[in-house]
Subunit: 193 residues, 6 copies
């Protein structure tokens, strides 16, 4: 087991956390088999914890025109641009699982333009990166182009909002030196069978 | 009254919103005398609305080592770097009010290095800008330097988290073409008396 | 009255200046009701002062296809890109006055792409920003595009030359820590009646 | 087996290659169990192939102050900055094998500043990135700093030359759309036992 | 003789120019043996012509702590950063002549950090480049550092003002496609004897 | 004769070098009349020396769709972007000789967009610069565009590979402070007769 620090800030004991937060974490632990460090490290600030995961769930658990794998592609591509250690490793794992593709996460992290993606998905990531890196230049022609690829206005909100949420998340992880769990590095790497 | 569009997306009617959101908005309206457009435009997505304002309140209404004016300085400086129309104008107004200084918001928006700030406040904004623009380079010496200026580890989390939240907020406002209310342009410009 | 320093360099007494410079300043003072700091701070170097204001007048007082408000838009947009405290505040005020629009200067300073401008004016500012930030890439297609928006070759010279003059002016103001007069912050903010 | 194209350019048949190149490739195939795509795709140009691998061997097989794992760190970190799909994936695998560490390659690729490295190794990568991204600014103080970390002048040549060789390699791989073999994605990921 | 166009804009006939401008040009022609294109191309706008050359003379013909060669170094280094064809070629020639050094101009244009300059001259050019590229970051420590190298406050104004004037000049030359005279390419290249 | 150092590293005596390297150098010396410093400085590392010049010869001495002058244009333009003292000066000289044009090297070094080149050559350099500065963005439309200008797929490999080789070469020269021979500054400057 890796004993390196997972945050610059104190990491709370599960038992000492408010009940709603503890239950939220235990539910994830039950599903994943371990507690992803983003939960336990952000729990240092309960009110921010609740808002962050509410935001996360609102964008990633909702129905919509983007598949679960596509949402993770947005996270991985923009987090790589922001050099966010935690988010690239952890969401890379989730992307591999959702996409049932052991190669896709590393491809998207290094250079999504060369990844095994559809033209539509590359257009989606072009826009996500523009939100991540130069949102002041977003304009009507971006919306037209995405429309030509079949994205609705609500899909475009979803793309932009996921990129925006991880603009926050990447900065928090970089601020506190959040370390990904070792488990994420290998999750989903076995080839689809 | 300005009739220009305040969002690329449909703007909900107050009466049609879920009660908790309507009450939250009416409370702000009562206090400010008008509904800031960030509330009514983001209400298009109720779940994201709730998470966003919970996050906002968790960081901006809490106690802590930063004054209310200092928190607004962080918002204005980073939002200017992201060229976010809504946030610079609206939070510029709030900064003028909290700081009781009609000049400070424009100064911080144009170039905080030349603004009428203390050395400590400039160090705070140097760090906020680093979170906004190059968070992957944050390191121990940033924490040491802020410590020398009297910021506690929790203050540094606050600085970083506010910059991170507005990294999200700026991108959402740029995504939806959020327009600031005309009222914000003049709020707090009368000199302190 | 604000007693902060208005320049890193000695600020001459009006009475000690060469007569032509004194008269030029008094004429502006008579018109504006106060002496804009750019005059008195640059007067530290009389020969450069004369050349600067001759250049300024040659571009801003001449007839031509650009309105006075449009010329100020160029100054505000490029000075914001250069983070020039004096020029954004002072020419923002002049822009509000010429455009009879209390909102326009802040909009152009934060992100002209989202400002209440015509498509033609945004094309003008796209070109002005290219001159300000990447003039080595100016090419024939820039001229064609501006031509399609109705700008003559002489109008394009004017756009480029104003952006070029404030490339100089912004750097001088940043060099000497030129401080805008407090009066500029509020000038022209009363709504048109 | 993945049937996606591994190069924009024709990929030669092993049997048709000049004997020295064929032998060189068969030797690698024997050792690795597969032919890394960089060999077969670059063999399209035999003379360049020979020079490239001679250069590679001169820097990576020689004795010297840098461990084999450290040389691969330089390759992974600079190739990530250049967004080179092939080099990050393939040399990431080699780094995991040499370092006997299943986590290190992803860490270095995302943000070497947060990776499980020594202070000395981070100084080595700071310099490698400077060679990769801003070699015109290299100066005496870079050499002094590396000297303080125990690097000899010859070690510094090695660091710089490896970064320089992969400046070439990354650009070639991006030019021809070189695709990494699927095998590299999982190589060395089993934890050290 | 080269018949390529020397400007995008009409080039006036010497005989048709206002007398003061014609005399100014003839004086330069007499001294140099040819009319540098900056004179005849900018004469298309007489009022701007007068202001530009007044500014030029105020900074380059005055007494002061910088040698004539040092002033030209500032012009060449900043014009190279702005990729200004005319200014690098023409002022490169003047620099060779003033410095009596046939190598210096090309060295400064490519990378002044590697040029045959004193430490003091490199500090001067570091500051000139900061004015050219990031003047909003100029601060007190820049002034202190230059002071340590023996530059007075007035010398620093000169360095900054020359960099600022050529920020203008480079942009005008790029705007109008100003072409340097063929004569400049070889002027001063004969070794000092 | 210039006695300044030509490398940060020891410069070997010709007599002490391995015979193949000595012969290679003497052949160049015989042809050029002097030993270009790149040979004697890189000979400090014989194995790398051989690989470098093999690579160089494979790309620059081969037959192909690019003229010798065009290959040197690629070197000069990309080396200027990398601010490589040695390569701009030395290959600028070679470009002047091959192109029989005393002006072209300085033009290409300062801003190839304004140089006396054909539209086809400017498209070639646009691509070379993309390889030099942003190779991760190379895509199919770059190949289409070059195809429209008459470049074959093999020509495009040549353009990209020359830019890639000098990405290496520029970094090595910047690493070791390689100094160009004084002879290069004037070579080929006499007008074609």
């Amino acid at each position: 087991m890796n004993t390196a620090s997972i945050s610059r800030y104190p990491v709370p004991e599960l038992a000492q956390l408010p009940q709603d937060i503890r239950e939220r974490i235990e539910k994830v632990q039950h599903k994943a088999g371990f507690i992803p460090n983003v939960f336990i490290t952000l729990a240092y600030r309960p009110a921010e914890f609740r808002a962050f995961f509410d935001y996360h769930d609102a964008l990633l658990l909702k129905e919509g025109g983007l598949t679960k794998a596509e949402r993770e592609m947005i996270i991985v591509a923009t987090s790589a641009a922001n050099q966010c250690h935690y988010c690239v490793i952890a969401h890379g794992a989730i992307l591999r699982v959702y996409a049932k593709n052991p190669l896709i996460a590393d491809q998207v992290a290094v250079n999504y333009r060369k990844a095994d993606l559809t033209v539509r998905q590359k257009a989606m990531l072009d826009f996500a990166l523009k939100i991540a890196l130069a949102s002041h230049q977003v304009n009507d022609s971006d919306f037209s182009l995405l429309g030509e690829h079949g994205f609705s206005a609500d899909d475009i909100w979803d793309i932009g909002a996921i990129a925006a949420l991880f603009a926050l998340s990447n900065r928090m992880a970089n601020l506190i030196n959040m370390r990904p769990n070792d488990e994420f590095y290998t999750l989903g790497r076995a080839p689809k069978t």
